[in-house]
Amino acid sequence: MVDVSQHELVPEHTVLDEEVLEGVLSEYDIDRTDLPKIKRTDPALPDEAEIGDVIKIVRNSRTTDQAVVYRLVVD
């Protein structure tokens, strides 16, 4: 199979640590279920990601330098 993460359309996906996640959620004052979702079957997902994990995505943004977004892994 092709290494999907090498494609220029695919930003960097990393699993977020629980402690860091707490900080993010309290910063925005939201629950993790309020985050955008990503399917567990998504080809760009790191192998170790499991349902309930939160993925940190660093996009090359068109409007700023880099944009950090989070997605919750769902079934």
Partner: protein, 392 residues
């Protein structure tokens, strides 16, 4: 991240880096300072502060109805889009749906676009040598029998006769034996192959079966990918003055193409957002939606639509981890509120179903509140201000 490619003093850098500006704007400040020689640190500070104030002022306020603004900002220029579907896009005589039909197709998240196409980039020597590039083309373009030789029917003997063109065979790297084998596999007939001629016929002499065989023969894909009917090679100039070959296709099979040798799997793209989603994931799909909508508008001279509006559309379409269309079957159809759904389309059905299932509307959204005549929860409508009593 304080290293800059601009020729400005460290003090200026410190002043500018201290602001809340995004990288892009900081760079523009540097460029301006650099262009006007002899800007003092104080002046630079003043410029940076002014830019920062302006930047903070133009940011979206909390409770701003961004969706409505986006809808209007895309809708108004949308009235100027062309309505005729077909037009040759500048690139390589490949027919691509443009204008309004393309925009609708994207927003509706149509399973297959009207004119699927891929832009295939090549790696290393495949990108620089024409022969090598052609090798890839033959692996992608669907080769039908009519491209390989002539087909004739001998009605007297009830035989189909194929005379293959040996030059074409050599060029496309396929042997007459292979062709004969593929025919046998697909049609279930015995073939007689001699040199470049292949003969076969129906088991029982029947005129209908004979014609049927010819029909079926024409549909067989001997080489390449069935979905891709045409590939065009173009030589394109790179930024550094070098040239490379790029392939454009009619029809798409993104997943198959990525794994072909010689294809650069890091730049190759396709205009079918679902294929991108399947092979590269939601984030790539989001990016493609923005790119495609933006290009569609730009193609029609409407590139003054702010990309943020398109980003919002793409964000909403990919919010649930898969591509959803905007409209009855997608976002609008899956809204929580009955009244909001009923207000959109097929009013009676929604109200009837809601009544049957005893649905409750919490009146959280905008549409519902407009219907019942309450203030909407946007802008000042969401802010409760009461006169406070100050205790002395």
């Amino acid at each position: 991240m304080t290293e800059t490619e601009f020729d400005v003093s460290d003090d200026v850098t410190a002043v500018v880096e201290d602001t809340q500006l995004p990288r892009r704007l900081k760079d523009r400040v540097y460029r301006t300072v650099e262009e006007r020689d002899g800007v003092t640190v104080e002046q630079a500070d003043e410029i940076a502060k002014a830019v920062e104030t302006r930047y903070l002022d133009t940011r979206i306020d909390p409770l701003d109805p961004v969706g409505t603004v986006s809808a209007q900002s895309i809708g108004e220029p949308g009235t100027q889009l062309t309505m005729n579907t077909f037009h040759y896009a500048g690139v390589a005589e490949i027919d691509v749906t443009q204008g309004l039909p393309r925009l609708i197709e994207l927003v509706d998240a149509r399973k297959t676009p009207d004119t699927p196409t891929m832009s295939i980039f090549l790696e290393d020597e495949y990108a620089t040598e024409r022969e090598k590039a052609h090798e890839v083309v033959w692996k992608i373009e669907a080769t039908k029998i009519l491209a390989l030789g002539d087909v004739s029917t001998n009605v007297a003997d009830m035989r189909v006769v194929i005379s293959l063109n040996e030059d074409t065979l050599a060029e496309r790297m396929i042997t007459p034996e292979e062709v004969a084998e593929i025919i046998e596999d697909h049609l279930g007939v015995q073939t007689v192959q001699q040199g470049a001629t292949i003969e076969f016929g129906p088991e029982e002499p029947s005129y209908r079966d004979l014609l049927q065989l010819v029909e079926e023969l024409r549909d067989i894909t001997f080489k390449g990918i069935e979905e891709v009917s045409r590939v065009v090679i173009r030589r394109e100039e790179l930024d550094d003055g070098e040239e490379e070959f790029v392939l454009y296709t009619e029809g798409s099979a993104f997943g198959d193409v990525l794994s072909i040798e010689g294809v650069d799997a890091s730049r190759t793209t396709c205009n079918n957002i679902h294929e991108i989603y399947r092979n590269l994931g939601v984030e790539a799909a989001r990016e493609t939606i923005i790119e495609e909508t933006n290009n569609t508008l730009a193609e029609q001279g409407l590139d003054d639509v702010n990309v943020r509006h398109l980003m919002l559309v793409a964000d909403i379409m990919t919010n649930r981890g898969e591509i959803e269309s905007i409209g009855r079957h997608g976002i609008s159809g899956s809204k929580q509120s009955v009244l909001a759904r009923a207000a959109f389309e097929v009013t009676v059905n929604h109200l009837l179903n809601a009544a049957i299932h005893g649905e409750i509307d919490d009146l959280d959204g905008v549409t519902e509140n407009v219907i019942v005549g309450k203030p909407i929860k946007l802008g000042t409508g969401d802010v409760d201000l009461r006169m406070g009593s100050t205790s002395r």
